[in-house]
Symmetry: C2
Subunit: 176 residues, 2 copies
Amino acid sequence: VVVGDDLDWVLEQWRAERPDIDATPMGVVGRIQRACRLLERGLGEYFAAHDLQLWEFDILGTLLRSGPPYELAAGALGRASMISSGAVTNRIDRLLARGLITRQTDPANRRSILIGLTERGRALVGGVLEGHVVNETRLLAALGPDDQKHLADLLRTLLVGLGDLSPDERRPPGTP
Amino acid sequence: VVVGDDLDWVLEQWRAERPDIDATPMGVVGRIQRACRLLERGLGEYFAAHDLQLWEFDILGTLLRSGPPYELAAGALGRASMISSGAVTNRIDRLLARGLITRQTDPANRRSILIGLTERGRALVGGVLEGHVVNETRLLAALGPDDQKHLADLLRTLLVGLGDLSPDERRPPGTP
DNA sequence: GAAGATTGAATGTTCAATCTTT
DNA sequence: AAAGATTGAACATTCAATCTTC
């Protein structure tokens, strides 16, 4: 290994201290954790320069990509972002205060609330989208296109194994 | 694609809503984020069953793998866990209260403090270590050994590109 | 009773300001 | 002046309890 990352060093330490344990799995899990933190730091810097928090883009982006009429139930937003229902309420409150979303009771099911993008919210998230992808491209630049594809494929297999199924697979069998 | 994960669905939505944008990079970044959250959930469940928080194992494990005399400066602990100095102080306070670590001023540099493992802390983290690796192995089981190695290699390249160098590479050139 | 959302308490983090030591 | 750690404030999350609606 010519150039090592932090996990190379961590695994070397474990080998010295606990040679009885095969710490190989830590090399995968630990790298995913570190990559996640470093990437989120890089994403946050871009959004901060555009008056957005990462979590704000997360919610607004989920609404935008859902397509017209850009409305989603609060529960669906929580599942998409993997956050608790309490966190959803909190985020909604603050995006409402910024005038970026609307909140209305679902007429079809009055337990549920529908969150919608305001024109201002739609313009804001739509406007930063291209720059966001450019920023991600920069953060991933150490890997060539083929390696990025390979990485995504390996992570998909891992994620499916962890139960991260797309909505298609989540539907009970036999649903049209 | 026979079985898709959540990101397959996300990218499909972006293609429909914003065909002008190539969202491929989101497929990599988003999968790393989701894998990180799902893995940390799985790690936390194991530690909770052993009266530990994930962050507690994080600190205690860093001390253990540093080898005898199992002492590290507070700053070094913060860098290893990628947390702020304020968070380090907070974590140290609570591990001290549990009697798992010691805290003393570094005699050689009285600005710095040295954190050490108590006998009880060492026994606790050493005792859960093997089960932790078994748990990680289970979480990664969707990938075969070769794929896990390949995944780790791709992530190393990405991490080095993001500046996550091992201590070796962090030393100024010419250092023995 | 179960589902969806809200509330408040407990938890834990970052950030800026501060203090000591170098 | 710079480095290392601590403090308190602001922020954000989870969890359990609660309320409304189905």
